[in-house]
């Protein structure tokens, strides 16, 4: 789960990391009031869960409260990479002397958290990594020990931070580590961490991503989830414990297991079709879950055919077949359906679907070919 900048920075503040004064607004009038409170120059920052907000014109500086209102109005009617801007963060503008990049993320290959830091902050870190890899400092953290103080000092030294700032930097590093640890973050990023003209370290921008698998111990964070930012069908799917991702094609896919679901999409493409979605009904799905999945697939108006590929293991093919019948009865779909059932109780499943006027297939390749044909 991605958090907005304003949410991430609120978490930083809780862990003692200095952030600019500011608040979030949903209307231009609110933005004006916040700007009045802050006084002086403010930055109006669109709150959408994509990168490149600045380049898209979603971050603007205002010299007065009236200008802040005008700019907020403008930004609140924007779309950035297809996402409508619903909120802006109004922050006091900082006088910046230097920008640093500083983050903690998971290094899956090393099986450890890793600190990434660079004296070249403020810009796209992946660009720095590609063009000047020597400017990126990486240091692993032992997950059983946590961040050691000497590691913070080593990082500070290696990004040429003047000694006067080491103590404050160590506090920020310790805070970011605690924030990462206690929120089950997969990314806690400050970019940029700035040195201001009045010689302070401030986290000007922040980004956090939280591990969806750890939500059971973070009810408070789950409430921060911005469902406006995801496709409604994806929200609906999560409610049923389904994994669904909408794509641009016209062949709906319902599969059990993530690897097999990806493979079914690939094979549709291989035979000249375009998958409309990724959908994994998971292991052991009952008929209610299957019915919900089918409704979600058919809610996409682009879908011209549906491919069901079920390899029964824990999932029983007869349960899936019953779910398909329930959903067909409710939704009365008009598009052709291709179904392939193999494994646990497959014969029983096929018998249940005998009168359902579905196209049946034996192999995966056969099923994909038939679905592609049916969508034409």
């Amino acid at each position: 789960m991605k958090l907005h900048e304003y949410q991430s920075k609120a978490i930083f503040a809780k862990y003692g990391i200095p952030i600019p004064k500011g608040r979030v607004a949903s209307t231009a009038v609110e933005a004006k009031h916040i700007a009045e409170e802050l006084g002086g120059r403010v930055v109006i920052k669109s709150q959408v869960l994509v990168g490149g907000r600045g380049k898209a014109g979603g971050i603007k500086v205002a010299k007065s409260a009236d200008e802040a209102e005008g700019l907020a109005q403008q930004i609140l009617t924007m779309e950035i990479k297809g996402l409508p801007v619903r909120k802006v963060l109004v922050d006091e503008a900082a006088a910046i002397e230097h920008e640093i990049y500083f983050s903690i993320t998971n290094d899956r290959a090393a099986k450890k958290p890793v600190i990434i830091a660079s004296a070249e902050g403020g810009i796209d870190i992946e660009e720095v990594a590609a063009k000047q890899p020597e400017k990126i400092i990486k240091m692993h953290i032992d997950p059983l020990l946590g961040l050691r103080d000497y590691q913070s000092r080593d990082i500070a030294a290696s990004i040429d931070l003047p000694r006067d700032y080491w103590r404050d930097f160590s506090k920020i590093a310790a805070g970011l580590w605690q924030a990462y640890l206690e929120t089950d973050a997969t990314l806690a990023e400050i970019n940029p961490l700035v040195i201001t003209k009045d010689k302070r370290l401030v986290a000007l921008d922040g980004k956090m991503m939280i591990d969806d698998n750890a939500m059971f111990r973070h009810a408070d964070l789950n409430e921060m989830r911005d469902i406006d930012e995801e496709a409604p069908a994806e929200t609906e799917a999560r409610k049923y414990g389904l994994s669904y991702i909408k794509l641009d094609g016209n062949i709906g896919c319902m599969v059990n297991g993530a690897g097999l679901a990806m493979t079914s999409m690939d094979i549709v493409k291989l035979f000249g079709g375009e998958p409309a979605n990724f959908l994994d009904i998971g292991g052991g799905a009952g008929s209610d879950k299957v019915a919900a999945a089918m409704k979600i697939i058919l809610s996409d108006p682009n879908v011209k055919a549906v491919l069901f590929n079920i390899f029964g293991g824990i999932t029983r093919c007869d349960e899936v077949a019953r779910g398909i019948l329930v959903a067909m009865d409710e939704v009365k779909p008009k598009v052709p359906m291709v179904v392939r059932l193999v494994g646990t109780n497959a014969e029983e499943g096929r018998r249940i679907l005998k009168d359902a006027k579905m196209i049946t297939a034996e192999t995966l390749a056969d099923a994909a070919k038939k679905a592609v044909q049916a969508a034409k």
């Binding site: 099986k111 591990d211 698998n213 059990n256 690939d266 493409k269 998958p275 390899f311 293991g313 824990i314």
Partner: protein
């Protein structure tokens, strides 16, 4: 011969009295797995599966009583890290975790702790192990595979079944099938299993089933090029997956341009691996 499990494997099931645990214990026992004990804290002293399997309160008690040498974990995700720590501290040499949805920071702690012990972890979020005709540890349906000389290693679950079944349909069997799981941080990786297959006299060919995300397939390709003498055939799922979207498995995500299927296929082909366009093509590439 086989790798990791065989007819002498003495298995404990952690979470044996839960729905999943009990269902799959029944299946494992029916397959002929030497299932010697179950563990559910608070239910020690009970017997399950028609009185055939004793239940203990802890792994240590179960191990002391039965001399078990392998454990399989079916407990819910929030309790799975503790189950893995317990098994490792009890000195069970092979720990297989089926549980899906373990938090990644938990897994980093588990993995780094287990690395200091003389134990092997397979999974989590995996279908487990199958040595056809001898032993089944996990949830791979027993009837979709026959004994043979093809070693199978996979990050996926049902996709693995698809491959085992495709092999069976043409009369090809598996020496052992190892599901290493689809999580970003796990125990045993591709290279560990490839090395075991390379040294297993009964395995003549290997099938490697990968997917998008991470760099494990690329490392496997390096290992195959430098260390393997046996032929390897592969399939990589997620050719059509868009970047930045997690495809069900926590580990199946293309991040920062890394981990795409195309890159993995390229690396494997450069290592001399035949890569199938779809899983049903694998048997013909093995011939």
């Amino acid at each position: 011969m086989s790798i990791l499990i065989n007819k002498n494997t003495r298995l404990i099931v952690q979470g044996i009295t839960g729905n999943e645990g009990l269902f799959h214990s029944t299946q494992m026992l029916a397959y002929g797995t030497n299932l010697v004990a179950g563990v559910t804290p608070g239910k020690g002293g009970e017997w399950v599966l028609d009185g055939k399997v004793p239940v203990f309160d802890s792994i240590k008690l179960a191990k002391d009583a039965t001399d078990a040498n392998c454990t399989v974990i079916f407990v819910p995700a929030r309790f799975a890290p503790d189950a893995m720590f317990e098994a490792a501290d009890a000195g069970i040499p092979l720990i297989v975790c089926i549980t899906e949805g373990v938090a990644v920071q938990d897994m980093m702690r588990v993995r780094n702790y287990l690395d200091q012990k003389d134990v092997r972890l397979v999974g989590p979020n995996c279908p487990g192990l199958l040595t056809p005709g001898e032993s089944k540890v996990g949830i791979i349906p027993g009837n979709i595979a026959i004994p043979g000389n093809v070693g199978v290693v996979s990050r996926s679950g049902t996709l693995t079944y698809e491959v085992l079944y495709a092999l069976k349909l043409v009369g090809m069997g598996a020496s052992t099938c190892v599901g290493i799981g689809g999580d970003p941080v796990n125990g045993t990786n591709f290279i560990d299993v490839l090395e075991m297959f390379e040294h297993d006299p009964h395995t003549e060919k290997v099938v490697l089933i990968g997917e998008i995300g991470g760099t494990d397939e690329d490392k496997a390709a390096e290992f195959i090029a430098s260390k393997m003498t046996k032929p390897v055939v592969s399939f990589i799922a997620g050719q059509t997956a868009p970047p930045g979207k997690r495809m069900g498995h926590a580990g199946a995500i293309i991040e920062g341009g890394a981990g795409s299927a195309a890159d993995k296929v390229k690396a494997l082909e450069a290592a001399g691996v035949k890569v199938a366009k779809h899983p049903e093509e694998i048997p013909s590439l093995l011939k």
